[in-house]
Each structure stands twice: as structure tokens, then as C-alpha cells.
Subunit: 339 residues, 2 copies
């Protein structure tokens, strides 16, 4: 019988770590066939675990003496903090002591260290971060959301392949619909980058449905939306900011209406339902695709629930060996091979 899946968790990473990461780990192991290695200050972690109810055979501690702070420069953290929780957690995957890693710490450092320690897949030119976003009919995958700020058309093509491998495996969808984020739907619309990427995507066996306009991304018409990491990050952040702003504006308007307070109480369950539906913590973090292993980058503001879901997704990705599927799908497809 094979061992249980082990997920390494950067226990010190995140705005409310390690309290929240520990809580997330306990939730994760309680419901699932999974074990978690908490990586961080052993004394502190041991102290915090005391008195908590959890299956002790499913939670381990791996000591790391340093913590990367949120404001640190990526390059310096990468060079100087060799015993950071984030690095040690990733190294556990490298040394096959864990099958996947989750960090809600410094996302730049988590990304760079994952890439540096685990390395990229041979057929991949640039790894990319994929994130699930809610749509009117369910959800869609946006890739890349920040790993690559300047891209070539071939990069976007690879993002499509990687997103496809992830989506079909994790959501059991054999042929997800892939669209290219652009201005207007017509084939000829776009900038230099997307016009070239469009041609490349047309020539694949992927289920490429063409350009998608910004106003339609939440309609549910595409499963995977491909863009460069600069635009993807802006789209993700603008959406986050706008959703918050709209709820704030609505509350301000409701406060101005005589019957508003009572009305608000009556629709409050609906607001909760809406929040649950659009809550990033349901999706548990964003995988860095294209590296030789499974690494999930979670929001710094992750709740225990978000950490739990990230661990669950990391476990599923490890079980399905998504990185091997990506390597396989891209074999012979890479436009960089012939250069």
C-alpha cells in the first residue's frame, strides 16, 4: 500500500500565519486522505498545536529557522534566506519527502524559489500562474496572472497547453474551451502579441474558440482564458477591487434609503451566498504550472478555509501528476524546440 500523499505547507507564510496555516492544515487532514508537513519554527508550531484536536499521525513539523517577510525583495530573499520556511517547504518536494507544496507567503519568492529549486519542465519555456475565477455559470481559469510580465506569442501558446492540461485533469473536462483575451472577438482584433498568438492557437488541436472581449470573460463562454501575466494580474486585481467597491457602494446606497436597513437584513443570506460563490478561498490558491513538481501559491490574506482548499487541490494535483501531463502534452509541441 502506498503512503498517504504528503503536502508541505509553508506554515509561516501569510498575513495571519502561523495560526491560520495551522488551522487550515488541521481542517485539511481531518477531511481528506492527506498528510501535512508544517514547515517553520518548530518551537512556535509545537506550542500552537498544543491542545488542538487533530490526528497526530497526519501532521508533522519540519523545522526552518527563517521567515521571508512580505516586503522583502525577491532576489535578496532567494539568495540570503536559505533556511526560510518557504524554501525548506519547496525542498521537501525536491527530495520527495512531500508530493506538493503550498505557500501563502511572499508570492514572488514562492514563485521564484519553486522555479529555482524544482526547475521547469524541459518542454516549457516559461512557467505561468493559473487562477480560478467565478463566472455567471460556474468558473473559468485565467492564465497567466503574474509570472511573466513580458511575453512572446509562443509563451501564450504554452500557457494554453498548460491551462488545458490542468483544467481537463482537475475538472474532468476532456476538451475545455480556450479563448485569448483581446479587444473585440474578431480574429483580426488585438495587439501584436495576441494577433500572433491567435495564429499559433488556430494551428493546434486544442479547443480554441478565438478571441474573447473583456466584457465577456465572466459570461461562462470560455473555460480557459489566456493572456500575458501583466494583463492577467491587472484583470485579476481590477476584478477583486471592483467587486469590493461595488459591495461598498451598494452598502452606502442602502444606508441612504429609509427601508434600506430592513431590506438589507432580508437579503443578507443572498449577500452571503454571493460572497461564498465569488470567494477566492473556495478555490484555494493558484498553481504555478510548467515546473517539475506541484506548487500552489495562495493569497496572503488566506483564511484557514483557503489554506485547507489549497492543500486539498495540491493533493489532487499531486495524485493526478498534473506536471507530468503537462510535460507529456507539450512534448513535440514546443515551438522553442526548433530554434
Amino acid at each position: 500500500m502506498p503512503d498517504n500523499l504528503k503536502v508541505a505547507l509553508d506554515a509561516m507564510g501569510g498575513d495571519s500565519a502561523p495560526e491560520v496555516t495551522i488551522a487550515g492544515a488541521i481542517e485539511a487532514v481531518s477531511g481528506h486522505d492527506i498528510e501535512v508537513i508544517l514547515v517553520g519554527d518548530r518551537t512556535k508550531l509545537t506550542e500552537l498545536l498544543k491542545g488542538k484536536r487533530y490526528p497526530p499521525e497526519k501532521i508533522f513539523i519540519h523545522h526552518a529557522s527563517e521567515v521571508v517577510e512580505m516586503h522583502e525583495a525577491t532576489s535578496i530573499a532567494l539568495r540570503k534566506k536559505k533556511d526560510s520556511s518557504i524554501r525548506r517547504a519547496i525542498e521537501l518536494v525536491k527530495h520527495h519527502e512531500a508530493q506538493a507544496v503550498v505557500s501563502a507567503g511572499h508570492s514572488g519568492v514562492a514563485m521564484a524559489t519553486s522555479l529555482f529549486v524544482l526547475g521547469k519542465l524541459e518542454s516549457v519555456d516559461r512557467p505561468a500562474i493559473a487562477t480560478i475565477m467565478p463566472s455567471l455559470t460556474g468558473y473559468f481559469l485565467l492564465i497567466d496572472v503574474g509570472a511573466n510580465v513580458d511575453c512572446r506569442p509562443e509563451n501564450l501558446l504554452q500557457f494554453a497547453y498548460m491551462g488545458n492540461a490542468y483544467f481537463k485533469t482537475m475538472f474532468n473536462a476532456p476538451s475545455p474551451k480556450i479563448a485569448l483575451l483581446s479587444i473585440g472577438e474578431e480574429d483580426t482584433k488585438g495587439n501584436e502579441l495576441t494577433k500572433e498568438a491567435f495564429k499559433l492557437l488556430k494551428g493546434t488541436g486544442l479547443n480554441f474558440i478565438g478571441n474573447i472581449d473583456g466584457k465577456d470573460i465572466f459570461s461562462g463562454s470560455a473555460d480557459i482564458i489566456v493572456c500575458d501575466g501583466f494583463i492577467g494580474n491587472i484583470v485579476l486585481k481590477v476584478s477583486e477591487g471592483l467587486a469590493e467597491t461595488i459591495l461598498k457602494m451598494l452598502k452606502m446606497e442602502i444606508a441612504n434609503v429609509v427601508t434600506g436597513r430592513l431590506g438589507y437584513l432580508m437579503i443578507k443570506p443572498a449577500i452571503r451566498g454571493f460572497k461564498k460563490r465569488t470567494d477566492y478561498s473556495e478555490y484555494g490558491g493558484a498553481p504555478l504550472l510548467g515546473i517539475n513538481g506541484i506548487s500552489i501559491i495562495s493569497h496572503g490574506r488566506s483564511s484557514a478555509r483557503a489554506i485547507k482548499n489549497a492543500i486539498r487541490v495540491a493533493g489532487e494535483m499531486a495524485k493526478a501528476k498534473v506536471h507530468e501531463i503537462i510535460a507529456n502534452d507539450l512534448k513535440g509541441q514546443s515551438p522553442f524546440k526548433s530554434q
Copy 2:
């Protein structure tokens, strides 16, 4: 005494033209010291004006025999439809028979024809479209939202100057806060384009407050947000799409709650208030800045109210001679001059 301001209106342009454009023109002249020249099919326009109440000395008709349809290719419409309502309207500005032009028709054609007929200002390399968007505390100007899909750093610098000239003049704000749309606020964050543009903006006398992250654009912390037209268009469209999606999702959730219907009725005035506050028609369209004249491009879905507001803004821009202020502000500032 000088003549009243005259605004040329592409009466045939827009999803519900000419009924809606006529209604907007009548609203505009009724409340303001402004005259409107309806450009389009004289017979049809005369027929539709019959029986309507309006001051006849303030509405004129200028005949044009052709109409550019929404699906037409810009290059072909520009070359072949010389007697289109959109072109004739713009020509009235060229020939000083009107001081500004408004079109809710094919926006690509409106933009290209404005540029072709009126020409760009000498000191401007690339004209840009600026649009007002609602924020938590009021509104902000986003520039460019679609005129230029591939930009150089110098273009973004000029967008900042043009946006500044427009904003300070129209909103009576002597030193508007200008930010550069990027990923993260730190000076060093961004892609190649924005990193270079950041340095150029630092060296100006403009009130440049640095990079702004996507999540903060609606916070009200910047008056003007600068980006290339590809990203600007996507941000604008994503925001439009998300706002609609959120309201739809909330309604769906409210329908699932027992007390939802009654609660919704009680907060309905608040939803109306919210919609009014975020309604693009309040702002009346997006000026094409950097050309030798005043041209406003309105949404194809413009209501009569949106057309009225666009005419009002066009009149104010003409009165303030915003294009001359831009020319003046950019004189000697253009990084293209020395090349």
C-alpha cells in the same frame, strides 16, 4: 456677441439611432446654451422631428446620404463612405461650422475619421481615448482605452499630459493626481513598457503619484490612470462585464432567499442609486484627445441621456478649447521632437 456653440451630432450613429440621437439633441438644446446640427438623412430626420417640442432655432439638419454600419471594416468605411453621417459631422468641425462633434456610431470609424479629417496636434505622436469611470469617492479618468494597442513609453507620457489637460480643465482641478497602471505599487514593478514610462513620468512637472495596482483603481486615490490602449480597453470592458455579472448574481441569490423578494423591493431605490452612480451615460462619452478639434466617441448603446451629456461635454470642451490647452502643455515637452 458671439454665436452660440454648435455641436455636430452623427444622428445616424448608435444602436437606436436616429430616434435616440434626436431625443438626446432635443434634451441638450433645451437645457443649455448650445445648438445641435443633426447630420444624416434629411427626409428621415425631418419626419422624426415633426410634432416634437423643441426650440427650432437651436436644431439644424445637415444632410448625409450614407450610414456606416457597426459591422463594417474601418479601412473600407473610411475609403468608400465619403458621404456618411459620421464623416460629414466631423467635416463640419473641420470647416468651422461646428465647434465639436459627437458620434455613438462605429467607434473605430469615428476615431479614424476624426484623426484623418481633423489631423493630430503637432506635438502629439498618438491621440488617445480617455474615459471617466466611477470610483468609491467620485470618478477617475482612464487613458488610453483603445486608440493604441501597441505603445512606446513616450506614448504613455503623452497620454498623461493629455489626460492632465483634459481633467484640470473640465473638472476644475489644478493638479490632478496621475498614476501609472501596473502590478504592485513599487517603483520597480511593471513590464518593460511601464518601467520606462515610470522614469519618464518621474521627470515631469506633473503630479505623478507612481504606480497603481489593479485592485486600487476604484479607491479614488488617483484622478488619472495611464495605460496602453490594449490594457485600458480590457480594464474598461472587464469592469463593465463584472459590474453586470455581479448584479445578475446578486439577483439570482436574492431569488433563492425566502425574504429576498421583499428585501429587494426595500433596497430597490439603493440599486437605482448605485446604477445612476455607475452609469456611463452620466459621463456622456469618451473624448479622443490629441487631435486638432473636439471629438467625442459615445457608446453604441447610448441612451438619449447619454447623448445629451456627450453634447454638453463636447460643448464645454469646445468652450474651454481643450485641444489648444493640450497643444500648449505639450509644446516643448514632446520626447519625439528631438528624434
